[in-house]
């Protein structure tokens, strides 16, 4: 395959996922040898027109303008990728989904009628998605595996299982069973290297539900650990509260 053309689209996001592309540093020039960053507004002034081979969409969809931009991106890109947890699940912006739009707006803006904002969704609520690169931010290694996969025409190996697997592979002290700190690791997708537990901090579920996530069972354990129902809801409605798995966890008690 010749150099694939990559477009990077920004929706409602912090730009951290795109920044991870520039954070490739030592490899950045090699990467640029392998792909064309054809549309990357954060880094370039002259951005090429589509079509593109890969579209990386960063951010949640939170307004009508983004919906139309997303649909256009879908048409322009052979493969469309949800790049980061916001694009995969609605991410942190989706926290607001459980409060009335009006109330949220009024907390921030004096004249909320000037705004148009909708429920925050992941991009697959509106378009078909070819791949998901989970994480807040998305992982550089996984992005690299994905790009290599596209170059080779294969499906890359991205860990589908729980964070606990990687946590054990790195022999971290389990915060849950050794220190009694509740952790979302058992139901969250690995791929981050169990970063938070490795830093002595419970997993917050930023990568969304793992394969076969048994969130109801975990929620019941949270309950046994003395968490209030509202705490359990907060744990599940953070980065991926809109997914069926985490919804079940939030609602079981």
């Amino acid at each position: 395959m010749s150099k694939p053309k990559i477009a990077i689209y920004k929706m409602s996001s912090c730009a951290g996922c795109q920044l991870e592309i520039l954070n490739f540093e030592p490899m950045l020039l090699d990467l640029l040898g392998a792909v064309d960053l054809s549309y990357f507004v954060m880094a370039k002034r002259e951005n090429e027109e589509g079509p593109y081979d890969i579209g990386l969409v960063e951010g949640a969809i939170t307004c009508g303008e983004e919906i139309s931009r997303l649909k256009k991106a879908r048409q322009q890109c052979r493969m469309l990728v949800a790049f980061g947890s916001c694009a995969c699940y609605g991410g942190l912006p989706s926290i607001k989904n459980w409060t009335s739009e009006r109330e949220i707006e009024e907390r921030v803006y004096p004249q909320p009628h000037l705004l148009e904002s909708t429920t925050a969704y992941g991009i697959d609520h509106y378009v078909t998605v070819d791949a998901y690169l989970k994480g807040c931010p998305a992982s550089r290694e996984e992005l690299l595996e994905f790009v290599k996969g596209v170059l080779l025409g294969i499906k890359p190996y991205l860990r589908p299982h729980s964070v606990c697997v990687e946590c054990k592979l790195h022999e971290n002290v389990c915060l849950f069973t050794s220190q009694g700190k509740v952790c979302m690791g058992p139901v969250t997708t690995a791929g981050c290297g169990a970063l938070c537990p490795a830093n002595n901090k419970p997993c917050e579920g930023c990568r969304g539900p793992a394969n076969d996530a048994n969130t109801e069972s975990l929620a019941r354990t949270f309950d046994e650990y003395g968490l209030h129902r509202s705490d359990v809801v907060r744990l599940f409605r953070k980065f991926a509260g809109m997914t069926p798995e985490f919804s079940r966890g939030a609602e079981v008690l």
């Binding site: 069973t177 048994n214 975990l218």
Partner: protein, 349 residues
């Protein structure tokens, strides 16, 4: 020590010696001059096997480690070979001699099981290369932890064979027994204080004492029939609801040997590595084949596979039970799913 494990008798190496407790660090340092020495050290509130002998504090009073010493032989991540345009480079290097210091009897038994798994028919050169260069300085358990049940399986608290040196805490000092030629050399090199044979009486006392402290047990009598006839026991449905399918129990098990293989290409797409890493039958993708068909889609099938493999299938495969009673899977399970408890519940206890 050679592989497969050879049986050594006390008669061959009668030397009994004593190692003062405050001499342990010096002993380890001395060994570290010639070997890579791994022993239990503290990691937060837990213990892990890590390099010792160069200032790190050996914690011989540890209960159990997060990962079993298996990780030193069958590594969590391992490169099998690298490949490039003109060939394959096997990653089998000149292995430095290593010592696993302070390993408990259950973990020694587990290594003996792995020895079988990795040597039957097709020897695994990666495992065997390390194994052949590994000496075992075992430590008998005088204080079983809450989750231990090795006694039920005959894999502890004391070790009968499979060691190069065996330590027993007999109060003021460690009694050192020799189990192999290589062990003999280790002892001679550091010039230990000889022990009188009565020390063996002390050892016996420690043993009796330790035996009384077990709080968990797994009754093995009639276990095969029990499991075979309870494949559809209602408990599996309950465990399906409970289990998180997180995989922790298998990741920490000293006898689990499954792995997954992943090829990693360089960005040039011309060269790369074939790697393997521990895998787990508790994970959904484990039994999945092309086009998404999965032979163990349901969680209960996977829970059952783990427990049946440990308690039923190892025996025909390797001639021994697959569980050594180390208790790690119990300790690590967020849902407190306990293999001994599962068996007693099936027994209707």
């Amino acid at each position: 020590m050679s592989v497969p494990v050879m049986k050594v008798t006390e008669m061959k190496w009668p030397a009994l010696s004593l190692l003062d407790k405050d001499g342990i660090a010096e002993f380890a340092e001395n060994l570290a001059e010639r070997y890579l020495v791994f022993g239990p050290v503290a990691k937060g509130s837990e213990y892990v096997f890590a390099p010792v002998g160069k200032g790190e504090v050996l914690e011989l009073n540890y209960h159990t480690t997060i990962l079993p010493p298996k990780k030193l032989l069958h590594q969590p991540f391992e490169v099998l070979f690298s490949f490039h345009e003109d060939g394959i480079q096997e990653n089998i290097v000149e292995q430095p001699k290593q010592i696993i210091f302070g390993i408990h009897p259950c973990d020694v038994h587990a290594i003996q099981i792995l020895d079988k798994a990795y040597s039957v028919e097709y020897e695994d050169p990666y495992y065997m290369n390390k194994r052949k260069n590994t000496l075992i300085i075992a430590l008998n358990c005088s204080e079983p932890a809450e989750t231990c049940f090795c006694q039920s399986l005959g894999t502890g608290p004391f070790l009968k064979d499979g060691y190069d040196l065996l330590l027993t805490d007999i109060g003021e000092a460690y009694l050192v027994e020799v189990g192999s030629e290589a062990g003999m050399e280790l002892v001679e090199a550091v010039n230990l204080r000889p022990a009188a044979r009565v020390a063996l009486v002390e050892k016996q006392k420690v043993y009796e004492n330790a035996r009384r402290k077990f709080r968990k047990r797994l009754l093995t009598q009639g276990l095969h029939e029990l499991l075979e006839s309870n494949f559809r026991h209602p408990i599996w449905e309950k465990l399906k609801e409970e289990c998180l399918a997180c995989g922790s129990c298998t990741m920490v098990c000293p006898t689990c040997f499954c792995y997954n293989v992943v090829d990693k290409l360089d960005l040039s797409l011309k060269s790369g590595k074939r790697t393997r890493e521990w895998d787990s039958c508790m994970l959904l993708e484990y039994a999945q084949v092309a086009l998404g068909h999965n032979f163990r889609k349901d969680r209960d099938a996977r829970v059952k596979q783990r427990i049946y493999h440990k308690l039923l299938y190892y025996e025909p495969q390797f001639g021994t039970l697959g569980c050594v009673g180390c208790g790690r899977c119990i300790k690590t399970c967020v849902k407190k799913i306990d293999i001994t408890d599962v068996v007693s519940r099936i027994r209707g206890e």
